[in-house]
């Protein structure tokens, strides 16, 4: 490794991968739960058959089509899911959002103790490398990022190992007046140790803050993921919601659908109060382009509504969703409300809301699960909320803290899928299969939307053709 070859650029060399640098210390010492390991090793056929047993109305052929789908734009994704139930005890995994730069590797115990690069290696070897091998451009390799250095140094070191060449690790931020990365006619360049621009043939991209303002569409440099994946719904919640509706219409006769809380799009600032009343005095307001728990407001009182409105731009449009409730919300229609299942009560009887972050990638077989972890809320579901406490404390699960750099996080609320934590979530293999199916349907929907919006891509590896030819 060569540190600071130019401002905000490091050169990562083969052999630089150090597990202690790319996992939280707690995760390094954890053992994956056997059920999680079993789930991650299930074949598509097993998952389709099981999902069909759980949802007899679902069409196995349609499910298999989605499992084996080769996305053209959105080949690496994360979903945030919540485990919910209704008054009849019908439990589901609901999609909260889909993310085109998902974190998660640093929270995932090793699936195979003999592969010390874990999910980093599976993603780079099975997804990124086949794409790069099929993309004929000149230049070096890079990882560009604006946060989460712990995982991005890991990706850079893994790319260096898998390709056997040095990798530029460059911080690329919209706010940087002299960024070390530039695009010229769709080709990406990175500044080297001599302050010269080096052309890049392919880059792993983890740029999350307004990436569309600094990364162009239709780049000559291969990007995983390209910006089109963000624009088609991988980042924008309003666009994603429309893509899910398109999916649900397309597959209505196949007995499958993407399940999300009831959603209202393009809600003006002045209509927020009407939606609050219509939804029974609670809702979630989302800024469509927000992420990492920012720009999301849970509202369960007029006071919280006024607070949320004080933070919002009156000229913007918002996404409003039905709140997934605890058991303490009053005035709800029992036939329509969904509740958090919550964690198994601890020794003090406390049950917490939690979400699941499921990371997936496109491989030769189709979409596969890659990493999974959960985050729980601060305040329990089954205790009345103190009057002065914000409802986000009960419903919010994001771990990011101000100035998050990948080394600081709310450790006590991170729930690993390991021997110690997984049982506390009350999840089984069936829930993981349901969550995975919901997730890949979301990816399918967004990728289809990208293809419809931006056209078909030609440089994605066609594994089926390659297999036939060999």
């Amino acid at each position: 490794m060569k540190l600071s070859i130019s401002k905000n650029v490091h050169l990562v060399e083969p052999g630089d991968f150090e597990p202690t640098d790319h996992w939280y210390p707690r995760v390094l010492n954890s053992n994956i739960h056997p059920l999680v390991s079993y789930f991650l090793n299930l074949t598509h056929e097993q998952m389709v058959e099981r999902y069909h047993r759980l949802h007899p109305q679902s069409d196995p052929e349609a499910l298999m089509e989605i499992m084996t789908y080769q996305p053209q734009y959105f080949r690496w994704a994360g979903t945030d899911l919540m485990h919910v139930t209704n008054n009849e005890g019908n439990r589901k995994l609901t999609v909260i959002e889909t993310n085109s730069c998902p974190s998660g590797q640093k929270s995932m115990p090793l699936l195979d103790l003999n592969v010390e690069q874990g999910g980093y290696k599976r993603l780079i070897e099975q997804t990124f490398k086949p794409m790069v091998d099929n993309h004929h451009e000149n230049g070096a390799l890079a990882v560009i990022y604006d946060k989460n250095p712990m995982e991005n140094i890991g990706y850079a070191a893994t790319v260096a190992d898998v390709f056997g060449e040095n990798v530029f690790l460059a911080k690329f931020e919209a706010k940087d007046a002299e960024p070390p990365v530039k695009f010229v006619d769709g080709k990406m360049w990175v500044r080297n140790q001599n302050e010269e621009w080096v052309e890049i043939r392919a880059a792993f991209r983890y740029v999350t803050q307004e990436p569309w303002s600094i990364i162009p569409e239709n780049t000559k440099t291969l990007l995983l993921n390209p910006i089109e994946a963000c624009l088609a719904g991988g980042r924008n919640k309003e666009v994603a919601s429309r893509a899910y509706d398109d999916f649900n219409r397309k597959f209505a006769d196949k007995g499958i659908s993407i399940f999300t809380p009831s959603t209202f799009r393009n809600v003006s600032f002045y209509e927020l109060e009407r939606h609050f009343e219509m939804l029974g005095g609670s809702m979630v307001i989302k800024v469509p382009d927000s992420n990492a728990g920012q720009g999301v407001y849970t509202v369960i009182s007029k006071k919280e509504l006024e607070h949320a409105k004080s933070q919002l731009d009156p000229n913007q449009l918002y996404l409003v969703q039905e709140l997934i409730h605890s058991n303490y919300s009053n005035g709800l229609d029992p036939m329509k409300a969904w509740y958090h299942v919550g964690t198994i009560p601890d020794s003090k009887g406390r049950s917490f809301a939690f979400d699941l972050r499921l990371m997936m990638h496109a491989t030769e077989e189709g979409m596969r699960p890659l990493a999974v972890y959960s985050r729980r809320s601060r305040f329990p579901l089954n205790t009345p909320l103190p009057e002065d406490m914000n409802s986000w404390e009960v419903y919010g699960t994001n771990l990011s803290v101000k100035g998050e750099d990948g080394w600081t996080y709310a450790d006590e609320r991170l729930m690993l899928f390991d021997v110690r934590n997984f049982g506390q979530l009350g999840l089984g293999i069936d829930e993981m299969i349901k969550g995975f199916v919901q997730s890949i349907m979301g990816v399918y929907a967004i990728d289809q939307n990208a293809r419809k919006t931006f056209g078909d891509k030609t440089s994605i590896p066609n594994f089926k053709i390659q297999t036939t030819l060999s």
Partner: protein, 117 residues
């Protein structure tokens, strides 16, 4: 002399990678990404060595160097400069810098310098 090392560098990746590298080589390391945080660490700790970047968001490395030397003249200070920063090097030398290293930095080379200081 204390075996604690202070790293002051505004690039968080640089700070963390170097902190971990030196920790693995049995040094006790603390890092700051700006001058203000560095001064707070200096108030609470005695450092045997310090690795300072010259360009920081709120002050420069030579200012921190002077404060370190004022607090403890025995503290060994290594200043990170850009290639060709001769004026900076001259200013740092007169302020008592013990060594210099130019970016890009190979952690193994840096370790050799630290051990020799």
């Amino acid at each position: 002399m204390s075996s604690k090392i202070l790293i002051v560098e505004d690039d968080v990746v640089f700070c963390k990678l170097l902190t971990r590298f030196l920790s693995k080589n049995n040094f006790e390391v603390m890092d700051a990404q700006n001058g203000k945080d560095a001064l707070e660490l200096m108030d609470l700790n005695n450092f045997g060595q310090a690795i300072l970047d010259y360009r920081l968001p709120d002050m420069n490395g030579v200012e921190i160097l002077k404060k370190l030397k004022f607090k403890n003249p025995e503290t060994k200070v290594l200043l990170i400069t850009r290639f060709g920063d001769e004026e900076v090097a001259a200013e740092a030398k007169s302020a008592g810098a013990d060594a210099f290293i130019a970016k890009p930095i190979d952690p193994d080379d840096l370790l050799k310098i630290i051990k020799s200081m």
